[in-house]
Each structure stands twice: as structure tokens, then as C-alpha cells.
């Protein structure tokens, strides 16, 4: 019998929300990867509800701080498989500094961003990936700024695994999640998850999303080129590639610290008191 990692909690996402698909893809990926000690971490926003719907170790953190919690869990137990879930507001607004620094650390963990290009649980304001011109409660005159491209940012920050998924293509997303978890180092997937209430761009994605083919994952310049193909705007039809943009082998955070061998609670400690205080005499 395959485990399905479900809980008894009532799911409170809107009916038809692509978040259901991400949940499905993740559960299937984890089931296929087999026995692993996995901890999931969420931020705050629609995506974060996933904490309640997955029967794995879980940490429902605060807005924007998914990555520091993931890194901390990894420091506390280097044997743990750690997967962070964040929203675009969570990751690219509130937590952008952690997003950049974690590529420098390259700890062996995975970040999945539910990018719906809008703050949904606060009823629809612009995030860092919302397109210019977007009209909403906080920008009734239209959003003046252009969105940032998280893929380019990740690549330029030294990422060792950069991918984009599409929530409405579950088999493809499931496969990406599996490869991200198997990657030794920090892996990042920006998941297009159109909000059907506040930012419904499903028709645009259905028309323009395509899977990367014959793309050299180890070629940084090719990755940048592909990342630039779509600028997170919708004013005219542009092709939106999904798949693994870039992957390289790079030493993981844990490999730099000889102390990081096993979970700390299993380390037997007998502090040598005389030795500790010896230097003060």
C-alpha cells in the first residue's frame, strides 16, 4: 500500500485552487521517493495551509522566514530531508534576503514557491512578482513597478538547482519535486500557481507554458537565456518555459562542518568542566 500522507484536517483552499495540485504532486513525489525522514516548513499565506494537510513532520513558521527555519532544521539534524513551502509574497517580498543568502549556504534542502503573483489571503495585493499595471485595493491607480524574476535572481545568486513548475501539470511537477529533493544542495522550484480569485492567468499559462527540451542543464548562460524568456508579465504572449533550468554539483553546507554528522539530540554530552574553566586560571 502506498502512503498518501493525508491528514484528517479540512482543506480550506478555494474550490479549484491550483494549490490542490501542488499538494497532490508533492505527496506523490514523496511516496515515490520512499522511506525518508522528511520535515516540511511553511511560511504564512494560502500556501502555508499545506502544513496541516501533509502527515509529515512540520513547522508552520512566520511570514517570510521559511528558509532560515529550513536551515535551522538541517543544522539541528543533518540527516533530515527538509522541504520549505513559501508563497511569492513570503519568499520574494518579506524573505528576499534569506532567498539570496541560502544560495550561498547551499544546504541540502528544497524550496518550493507557490507563485500566484499576488497576495491572496490578504485579499489581493501586488507582490514582487505581480505584473506592472495590476489594479487592486492597494494600487487602484495601477502597479507602477515591474516584477522581479526569481529565476534570474536565483541563478545570479549562485544557485545549484533552479527549476520552474506549473501547478496544473501534476506529473511534470511531481517529477521536478523528486529531482529537487534528490539534488545534493539547495534546490529551488518556482511553481506557477495562478490564483483563480485574485489573479486568474490560467488561460495565458494554458496557451504559453511549454516544457524545456534539449536544454543543457549544466549550461549557465543557456539557463539565464531561458529564464529571461518570460518576464512574469502578461501584456503580450510570450512562451513560458518550465522544467529544470540549471543544475550543478556544488559542496553542500553540511560538508563544511565536521560537527554536522548526526542529530544533536543523539550526541552524548559530558562537558569536561575542569577543561572548560582551565583557561581562566
Amino acid at each position: 500500500m502506498t502512503k498518501d500522507f493525508s491528514t484528517k484536517e479540512t482543506i480550506t483552499w478555494c474550490p479549484g485552487c491550483p494549490n490542490f495540485k501542488i499538494l497532490k504532486a508533492f505527496k506523490a513525489a514523496v511516496a515515490e521517493l520512499g522511506n525518508r525522514n522528511i520535515a516540511i516548513v511553511s511560511g504564512v499565506g494560502c500556501h502555508a495551509k499545506i502544513y496541516d494537510y501533509i502527515n509529515l513532520k512540520g513547522f508552520y513558521g512566520i511570514h517570510g522566514r521559511v528558509l532560515p527555519v529550513c536551515l535551522g532544521i538541517k543544522m539541528g539534524n543533518p540527516k533530515m530531508t527538509v522541504v520549505g513551502f513559501g508563497g511569492d509574497g513570503d519568499t520574494y517580498n518579506e524573505g528576499i534576503s534569506h532567498f539570496i543568502h541560502n544560495y550561498r549556504y547551499n544546504a541540502d534542502m528544497t524550496m518550493l514557491v507557490h507563485n500566484n503573483q499576488v497576495f491572496s489571503l490578504t485579499t489581493g495585493q501586488a507582490t514582487a512578482t505581480t505584473e506592472k499595471g495590476f489594479i487592486d485595493g492597494s494600487t487602484p491607480l495601477g502597479l507602477k513597478e515591474r516584477p522581479l524574476n526569481p529565476l534570474i535572481m536565483a541563478l545570479e545568486s549562485g544557485a545549484s538547482f533552479v527549476a520552474r513548475g506549473y501547478a496544473l501539470d501534476v506529473p511534470h511537477l511531481k517529477d521536478l519535486i523528486k529531482q529537487a529533493i534528490l539534488h545534493k544542495g539547495f534546490s529551488f522550484i518556482d511553481i506557477l500557481q495562478p490564483c483563480i480569485i485574485f489573479h486568474n492567468v490560467v488561460p495565458y499559462f494554458q496557451k504559453n507554458v511549454y516544457k524545456l527540451k534539449n536544454h543543457k542543464q549544466e549550461d549557465f548562460s543557456a539557463a539565464l537565456l531561458k529564464a529571461r524568456q518570460w518576464d512574469y508579465c502578461f501584456d503580450k504572449d510570450k512562451k513560458v518555459p518550465i522544467g529544470i533550468f540549471y543544475q550543478k554539483t556544488s559542496p553542500a553546507f553540511e560538508s563544511y562542518w565536521p560537527q554536522l554528522k548526526k542529530p544533536w539530540h543523539t550526541v552524548l554530552r559530558k562537558p569536561n568542566w575542569q577543561k572548560i574553566i582551565g583557561e581562566f586560571k
Binding site: 520535515a39 496541516d52 513532520k57 535551522g72 550526541v267 574553566i277
Partner: protein, 507 residues
């Protein structure tokens, strides 16, 4: 015997290292030393100085009149000459420069010349000096030894110090670090911030031999969130910062309370709001430590009064935080952290922290299993589950000496934290005063404090702050009002003479 020695010079000239070495030598000879460090926020230039008080009796503070000034530059003499005692001595550039030139060594050798000259005066054997210098600096330079010898030659022997059992010389920050190791620390995370940074340096340097991880994340917000992640994994974690960094951490402090994740936070205070006066001292963050974070959740706030207490209270913070699953704040300040204290022995607490990994941690209101809820009854249950720990922990803290009373007298001085040293040293100069030290600010020892206040004629609060926050805390906790306050908010610590002057009028 009691001597006060001031050592000063520009930043980078060596006064901090030299005063530490001089203190250590006196400790090895069996004397009690207190070492106060005064430095502005700059790296080269300016004026740094240390004040060493050396005594054959136990002492916990410095003073403001000096027997000897060791000057690495003329500015030190110009600034401090007015505080030299009658018949006091100055050794300075005039004495050191010819020797440094003769040795053709770097300017920094002036420190070693001064060490030689100083200890010759006290009749200390040259071998002891050379041995101590080697222990401190390694064998890297025989120039140091030469400079000490030359300084020794020009010195005049005036006293013959009696030797007794050597002592421990340790700073408050070192006490915090030692206490964390004794408690079973696994991970220390910190973003640099004066005056907590020495704990980061101390533990980072010794991480491999103690099998701990010391890491500096990208900012304070990452620091505390990573610490909570590690705590979730079952690690014993401490983080260190000062007021500004702690302000950035407050959202996650509340998460620690909500998710019931153990975490020890060393909050080393510095003066004034915002950036304030970064390298000086104050106790202005008491109410901040007690109240930081959104929502209502229990916490521990403990304030050590010296380096030995730093060890014990840090161990207690680890123990209580792990057992009752709540954040524990060790409230220190620059004066406690960066001053060196002397003890015959260093002792530790038998208490240890027991840690284990969790399955679920939730920042949202949650049921007992950790699942999110907004149900009215569950929200009530959540609050009660967390807050009832306050009562249980208060009973346990009663057994940990949450207060201590020193001396006898009808009038009561009340204080907390680093002011302990100056107050203890002032007590012999004050008739009819005793001193109540409050070490646990949360849970607050209400009955004990109220009892002491009620049996006193006059009650005076002493605090290194502009408003005397502890008086408000006492009123909130006991209903008793304290009108008389002796406050100091010039970013410098109290000295016993200042306290005696200000307190004696109350009797």
C-alpha cells in the same frame, strides 16, 4: 592592599590586552582583580582605557581615583591626570619610548615595558612575568620578553607582594559561554553586535574541541528563525544579541512562545534608544525583555550579577527553557559582559537541559497535536496550555535563589544585574543599608521581594537607566510603590564612591 591602575591609549595600542594580562598575573599571585573596559566605537585612534582594581579582599567593581596610570600615549595622561591620587604614579611614553627605540621593535612593545616596570614595583619575580606573557602570547616573539626585561630594569622595587592561592579571572561574557557549554549547548547562532559579540568569538574559536556548531547567519531575523528550526530538530540552541538585534527578533520570540520551542537568548544591553551608545553600558531594556513579542505567552528573564552568576544562570536558562518549553532571556549588559571578575573557584549548577525533536511546531493557534485551529474553545485551550506553565515554573524558580540579600540594615537598596558589583563594594561604606538583588525578573519572586520591602525603612532603587524600570516592574508584580531612585544614564557604570555619595542621604 588595594590599588587602582588605569591603562590607556589609542585603540589598537594594546591597553585591553595589557590590562587583561596584568589582571591575570595578579590573579595568579592570589589577588582579586576587577577589570573595567572603556572604549568608543572605533577601531584605530580615539582613546581606550581600562581600570584595574586589585585587592587582597574580594572586590566586584572598579573606581574613579587611580594609584597608577600606565599611559601608552600623552592623551591618556592629559585626560586622567586629574583623577590620579596624591602620590600617584604615571608611567608613560617618556619611560617606554627610549626602550622601544633601543629594541628597534614595534610601538606595541611599550605595553610590555610597562608590565615590567609595574611589577618590579610590586616585587614580583621577573620569571613570573615572562611565563605569563608566554602563556598569553605564545613563544612568537622574544622581543616581548626583552621589552618586559627592560621595563623591569628601569622599575623600582617598592613593595613585596605576598603570594597566595591563584584565582580565576573571567568576564561575564565568558561566563555566559562557559555556562552554555556546561548546560550542553549544541548550536550557537549570532549576528555580530556589541556587547554580545565576545560570546560569538569565544564559542566559535572553541567549537571543534567542544563539538558544537557556531554559525553567523545573514541577519538577526534569520538567526532566531534558524535557532527555532534547530530547536525543533532537538538541538540545544543559544543566540546572542543586543537591543537592536533583539528588536528584530521579537516576532520569532513570540513564535518560540507559541510553538513552545525551547530557546536561550543572551540579550546584552547597551545604552539609549536605537543605535544609542554602542560600546557602553546601561540597563534600559528590562521592560523590553519582559514584554517583547506579540500576544501573551510565558517566558523566563534572568539577570546575572557577575561572571560566576553568568555561568549558573545560563545553565538554569537552558534547563528551564527546555523543561517548560519557552524562551529564556539572559539579561546582561556591556558592564557585566566585558568586565573581568575574580573568583577563588568557579562553580556550576547540576542542572542540564533535556532536548528532543518535535513532530509539529505551529505559529498559528493549534490544538494539542499541533494542527491549526480557529475554534473558540481550542483558542482558549491553547492560551491556557501555554500560560499555566507560568505558575508551575514560578514554583521551581523559588528554589533557584531568585533573590539574594546582602548585608544588614534598616534601609534597602534594590537592583538587578551588573550593578551588583558596585553596590556590594559600596555596602561597607554605608551604614544601615542592605542590598536586595533580584535575579529572576520573570517569573518574578513577588512574595520574597514584597517581604523585604515591607520590613525596610527606606527603599531605594539603583539602576543603570534613565527611568528606573525595575520600580515599575515591582509595582506591577507586588502593588508596592518605590519612590526613591538612584539612576545613572551617562552610559557608564556605577562605581562604589558614586553610590555611597548618593545613597547616604537617604538614611
Amino acid at each position: 592592599m588595594e590599588k587602582l591602575i588605569l591603562i590607556g591609549g589609542e585603540a589598537g595600542m594594546g591597553s585591553a590586552l595589557t590590562s587583561h594580562l596584568i589582571g591575570k598575573i595578579f590573579c595568579s599571585l592570589g589577588y582579586y582583580v576587577f577589570n573595567y573596559k572603556d572604549y568608543p566605537s572605533l577601531i584605530r585612534g580615539g582613546h581606550n582605557f581600562n581600570v584595574l582594581k586589585i585587592s587582597n579582599k574580594k572586590i566586584f567593581s572598579h573606581g574613579s581615583k587611580y594609584d597608577i596610570i600606565l599611559a601608552l600615549d600623552q592623551k591618556t595622561i592629559d585626560l586622567h591626570k586629574k583623577d590620579l591620587k596624591k602620590n600617584g604614579l604615571i608611567f608613560g611614553v617618556k619611560e617606554t619610548e627610549p626602550i622601544v627605540q633601543k629594541l628597534q621593535g614595534p610601538k606595541i612593545l611599550a605595553n610590555d615595558v610597562l608590565i615590567g616596570t609595574l611589577f618590579k614595583r610590586f616585587g614580583v619575580d621577573l620569571k613570573i612575568l615572562l611565563h605569563s606573557a608566554e602563556k598569553e602570547f605564545g613563544k612568537k616573539s622574544n622581543l616581548i620578553a626583552k621589552a618586559i626585561k627592560e621595563g623591569y630594569k628601569i622599575g623600582k622595587k617598592k613593595e613585596n607582594l605576598k603570594k597566595s592561592k591563584s584565582k580565576y579571572f573571567i568576564s561575564g561574557n565568558e561566563g555566559i559561554a562557559v555556562g552554555s557549554l556546561a548546560a550542553g549547548l549544541d548550536i550557537y547562532l549570532a549576528y555580530p553586535m556589541t556587547p554580545a559579540t565576545p560570546v560569538l568569538h569565544f564559542l566559535a574559536k572553541r567549537q571543534l574541541e567542544n563539538n558544537i556548531l557556531v554559525f553567523q547567519p545573514e541577519n538577526e531575523i534569520a538567526t532566531i528563525n534558524s535557532a527555532l528550526g534547530a530547536s525543533f530538530s532537538g538541538a540545544r540552541v543559544m543566540i546572542g544579541t543586543s537591543g537592536g538585534g533583539f528588536a528584530l527578533m521579537t516576532e520569532a520570540l513570540s513564535l518560540s512562545g507559541m510553538a513552545e520551542l525551547p530557546l536561550v537568548i543572551y540579550l546584552s544591553q547597551r545604552p539609549a534608544p536605537s543605535t544609542g551608545v554602542p560600546t557602553y553600558t546601561a540597563q534600559g531594556d528590562l521592560k523590553f525583555a519582559l514584554n517583547a513579542g506579540q500576544g501573551e505567552f510565558p517566558r523566563i528573564v534572568v539577570a546575572p550579577g557577575d561572571a560566576q552568576e553568568s555561568i549558573i544562570r545560563t545553565q538554569e536558562a537552558f534547563y528551564l527553557s527546555a523543561k517548560y518549553r519557552m524562551p529564556a532571556i539572559i539579561l546582561g549588559d556591556k558592564h557585566l559582559g566585558e568586565s573581568n571578575y575574580t573568583f577563588d573557584q568557579l562553580s556550576k549548577s547540576p542542572l542540564k537541559a533535556v532536548s528532543y525533536p518535535l513532530d509539529r511546531a505551529n505559529s498559528y493557534e493549534h490544538d494539542k497535536a499541533g494542527f491549526t485551529t480557529e475554534d473558540a474553545k481550542e483558542v482558549v485551550k491553547g492560551h491556557e496550555r501555554r500560560l499555566r506553565k507560568e505558575k508551575i515554573i514560578a514554583r521551581e524558580v523559588k528554589k533557584l535563589n531568585p533573590i539574594r540579600v546582602y548585608g544588614k540594615g534598616r534601609n534597602l537598596i534594590i537592583s538587578h544585574g551588573s550593578t551588583k558589583g558596585a553596590i556590594l563594594d559600596a555596602l561597607p561604606g554605608l551604614k544601615n543599608f542592605r542590598f536586595l538583588q533580584i535575579s529572576y525578573l520573570k517569573p518574578f519572586p513577588k512574595e520574597e521581594v514584597a517581604r523585604e520591602i515591607k520590613r525596610s525603612k527606606k527603599v531605594i532603587l539603583v539602576e543603570n537607566s534613565a527611568t528606573g524600570a525595575l520600580s515599575g516592574v515591582i509595582t506591577e508584580e507586588t502593588g508596592l510603590i518605590i519612590k526613591d531612585k538612584v539612576l545613572k544614564y551617562d552610559a557608564r557604570p556605577f562605581t562604589p564612591d558614586i553610590l555611597i555619595n548618593q545613597l547616604k542621604k537617604y538614611d
